[in-house]
């Protein structure tokens, strides 16, 4: 190698740091890593939600039959979503509580598009249980919203966590009113 005419300064000599062979090892290693990554990517990516799963990622709900004071549980992306038709008293309660001390402070108006319709994901933010309280006959907890039977988290009429171990308010999913009686969630 030392006799190579492109290598007269001795920098590619085996005894003095990097040699041409090292360079070949490194480039070959780098190419192998790129190749491994190129093979791994489709495998790992195949585990992402498939096209048909993504296609079913929205749910349309007919809300015309839901009377005030009652909620309806619908399935969206495999999870329950609470669509609650709030009474004027419940709306008032939620708005009045805006300034109360809360674990996860949020204003009621930031959680709804139309005050009479509260739409939240029905999964307790503590350990993922489904709270009860859709029917007025069920236990709705001290704050009139939902009560989680697992570890006693209590949500108010805006789905905000007011008492118990849950760290966050019930999540508001993306949704829009397609018409006065149909909501598209997702």
């Amino acid at each position: 190698m030392g006799s190579d005419k492109h290598c007269t300064d001795g920098s590619c000599d085996a005894g003095h740091g990097a040699s041409r062979r090292d360079f070949i090892y490194m480039t070959a290693g780098a190419m192998a890593a790129v190749g491994a990554g190129a093979v791994a990517w489709p495998l790992l990516n195949s585990m992402e939600p498939a096209a048909d799963t993504l296609a079913m990622s929205t749910t349309e709900v007919d809300i015309s039959g839901i009377v005030a004071g009652v909620g309806k549980t619908v399935m969206w992306q495999g999870k329950p979503v609470f669509v609650r038709h709030r009474t004027p008293e419940e709306i008032k309660e939620a708005e009045q509580a805006d300034n109360a001390t809360m674990v996860d402070p949020q204003r009621d108006e930031d959680r709804v598009q139309k005050p009479e319709w509260l739409i939240v994901v029905g999964v307790c933010t503590h350990l993922g249980c489904v709270p009860v309280g859709e029917q007025p006959t069920e236990n709705r907890g001290e704050f009139g919203g939902w009560f989680c039977p697992c570890h006693g988290s209590q949500y108010d009429t805006s789905g905000r966590i007011r008492k118990g171990p849950a760290p966050k308010n019930l999540a508001v999913p993306p949704y829009k009113f397609v018409s006065d009686t149909v909501v598209k969630i997702g």
Binding site: T53, S57, G78, K79, L127, G128, P149, C150, P167
Partner: protein, 439 residues
Amino acid sequence: MVGLHKSEFKNPVIRWIDTRLPIFTLMQAEYGKFPTPKNFNALWNFGAFATVMLVAMIVTGIFLAMNYDPNTGHAFDSVEHIMRDVNFGWLLRYLHSNGASMFFAVVYIHTFRGMYYGSYKAPRELLWILGMVIFLLLMATAFLGYTLPWGQMSFWGATVITNLFSAIPFVGKAIVTWLWGGFSVDNPTLNRFFAFHFLLPFVICAVVFLHIWALHMTGSNNPTGVEPKTARDTVPFHPYYTAKDSLGIVIFFIIYGIFTFYFPNVLGHPDNYVEANPMVTPAHIVPEWYFLPFYAILRAVTWTITIPFTKIILIEAKLGGVLAMFGSIAVLFALPWLDRNPVRSCDYRPTYKKFMWALVVVWVLLGQAGGHAPDDHVMIFGADLGFTWVVVAQLGMLYYFAHFLVVVPWLSKHEKTLPLPESIEAAVEEKNRAKGAKA
């Protein structure tokens, strides 16, 4: 005849094979003549039990897979079909489900043996680490398998455990979606869990092979923790330990059989006989018994860590719990470097021995705490003690980490150990003399 092995076997068929592939010579060296300390107690049976369980789980598992359907619409029914209609299906399933419990019981005792007699110390650190890798793989496999019957506990257990990854800052949600292959635990999740549940046992086999290879390089530890010095300290593996292991396996199978045939569901949870329902959570989600201590540690962290004097959250309680749970296993990996006391066996470390048994008690208490709802009050004979199980879990977790990170390193330097016997032979002689004096 370059490259051919000089076989010592006389049988012509065996000799023909052995000269070309010296597998008989290998078995003879590693499981025939292999010099093994002569003073093993029954705790040294548990490695053999674990190997037997691995084989039993793979065999029953493959036959279960022939009748199981990993589709959310059919999974629960296919398990009932196995139980009611498939010839001996009930036996395969009960052997497999109770086998998981037996496997964990054996592995926990095997690990305790390693800790009590200091088997993790030089030169057996890598042997210990490979064992811990097997333990992690075993936990993953068991969790995946528990999802497959698609009962309520299967579904909600899978939901809670996969949601642990959502605690990872920034990318947590994306990772969980990727794990699920959707937006909740659903059909894609069940399918991949089945695929991985089928794959991992074979990965475990490979790591078990390395574990045994490493064991045969260093040789076994023994109850004195003193390395064998002369031929008088050891006996050949066969027939001595093949016989001792066989007797042990018979007794172990009797216990396994008692559970399988007489109490097949006592270690399970009745809620898992209710089909998975994503809309209704069972009132109380608990993992299988062998995960309860870790589950207790997961839920013991109920506080957030903030930057002092501000409200900026560094570590949410949920993430803290996840870190504590994985940390409780990580400290086990570090054990060979946390404990540098040259004396291996607890028999000659009177102080460490006490702490070791305290760890066992704490471990059982953590298991109890993991089985109760966190806000359940601790009751003894109907009397309310006035504090909740989460407090027990927090104290247990405190001791667990203090044991490994404070007690063990401190004792490693400061413990006054007892004099070691000169050799295994000397220790055995001493024991025999004491026995003779008593008689």
